[in-house]
């Protein structure tokens, strides 16, 4: 598949995303380490999108089979990740009202 926006554009996007990733989490408290890890984990489940796109243009049976496996794995990552993160956070936020700061 062709890169529509050019290698250097993608590199710029990569560099900016690195800075955003660094900055955004750099002040997280240790209490939230586990849910943050789990949430970030769910986000990279977006590889599902790549798996769908590639499967949708594949033709050989080997490729389609591998593609479907990738879709299953990606879905497990994404859906399971968000659900389990929400479960963790639900417990934290049960008593949001009484929170101290």
């Amino acid at each position: 598949m062709a890169n529509q926006i050019g290698g250097m554009g993608l590199l710029t996007i990569f560099v900016l995303a690195v800075f955003v990733g660094f900055e955004v989490v750099s002040k997280v408290s240790s209490t939230l380490h586990t849910p943050l890890m789990s949430g970030a984990n769910a986000i990279h489940g977006v590889v599902l999108v790549g798996a769908i796109l590639i499967t949708g243009v594949s033709s050989g049976p080997a490729q389609i089979t591998l593609g479907l496996i990738a879709i299953v794995l990606g879905t497990v990552n994404m859906v399971g990740g968000f659900v389990v993160t929400d479960r963790m956070l639900r417990m934290f936020s049960a008593r949001r009202g009484e929170e101290r700061r």
Binding site: F22, S26, V47
Partner: protein, 459 residues
Amino acid sequence: MSTGAQFGYLIAAICFILALKGLSAPKTARYGNWAGAAGAVIAVAVTLSVGHLQHLGLILGAVAVGAVIGVPAATRVKMTAMPQLVAIFNGVGGGAAALVALIEFLTVASQSSKIAMGDQAATVFTVLVGSVSFAGSMVTFAKLQELMTTRPVVLPAGRWISGAVFVAAVGLAVAGLPVRSTGLLVTLLLVSLGLGVLFVLPVGGADVPIVISLLNAFTGLTVAASGYVLGNTLLIVAGTLVGASGTILTRLMAAAMGRPLTGILFGAFRASVAGPAAAAQNRPVRSGTPEDIAILLGYARKVIVVPGYGLAVAQGQHTIRELADLLTARGVKVAYGIHPVAGRMPGHMNVLLAEANVPYESLLEMDEANMELSSADVALVVGANDVVNPAARTSPGAPIYGMPILNVDSAAAVVFCKRSLRPGFAGIENELLYDPKTTLLFGDAKESLSKVVAAVKAL
């Protein structure tokens, strides 16, 4: 790809940024996760609706299968088994990314013979790191689920084997750059799986969460690289975000344990595990009955509970809550001192105690807890060891030396609930167990606590 679809992807990317931002603050964490889920839904909906997809039925079927596997796993897992579930989810993501790159490679290989260097490099990277992440995550799962030993596994000449496999993987990757050989790529995939296993084997059980976080960052980068292969900006942004934030998070976690990352990955306390632990076993200790402990606690003015790994293992969070409620009803002031690395993963104790409905106000962070401890009558240490071991302050040679600890020794009396005199994760003796002001209550944390609850009720 249409502008509309790209716009949808951009919205999804923004959702992911907001998700990480939200997840970084207690008040917004849950909204953050929802924002992430919204981004994921948008991304998948856009992808399915761009049309031009063949095999749509099969694709939807595969998504359904994935959901049917993922959702029940996520909703049913016990809170204490969270880490291994996160490890699995992370591993399958890495595996998916490696597969995507492999399929793209097969497709392009069958169509053209010109090799774009950038694409080829990204493909090789994805296959290598994705496989490492997949295999490594599976090993962490096995360790945490206790399908295998949680102790560091050091193969004979382990360093040399790992080193050789690492060199082989990198060599294959570099060799794969200029040529387009499916055989080479599949070999690389297999060798990388081996590398992933060897990478995680020498890591001790309690260090595994750090490794999961690191592999999480790896998977993020893999997804970004697979996005480069596909020319998909969303995958690049989302993967890079996770790669960058995961790296920071790994460092923060390691810092909370007061140890360098390289030590966790490669050192694993190997030198000091055996020695002192074996030596000092037959010194006298004072052990108490549940009734003794009940009296100590029931007539105290202030009790600080220090929960640890053992409480999580024993699933004793509800029982400790019950005990705390009983004591509070008797007019005892009860609070919990939470060490950042107590439990199986960072923040794990907070999650566990929150599950048991412990009020947020009574969870004290380390500094606060240490202030309270100095005026406490009893420090009740439940299934914790390293996080209260004074060796961190006093023995420069100890592997935990320099780690900030909860100073339970500053309380008037200390009670330890544990099953034996065995040391904790760091494998070093805890002098406090032999201290005259310490009483030991031997047994599984949950059972012991139940007995203490019964005894307090009988007071």
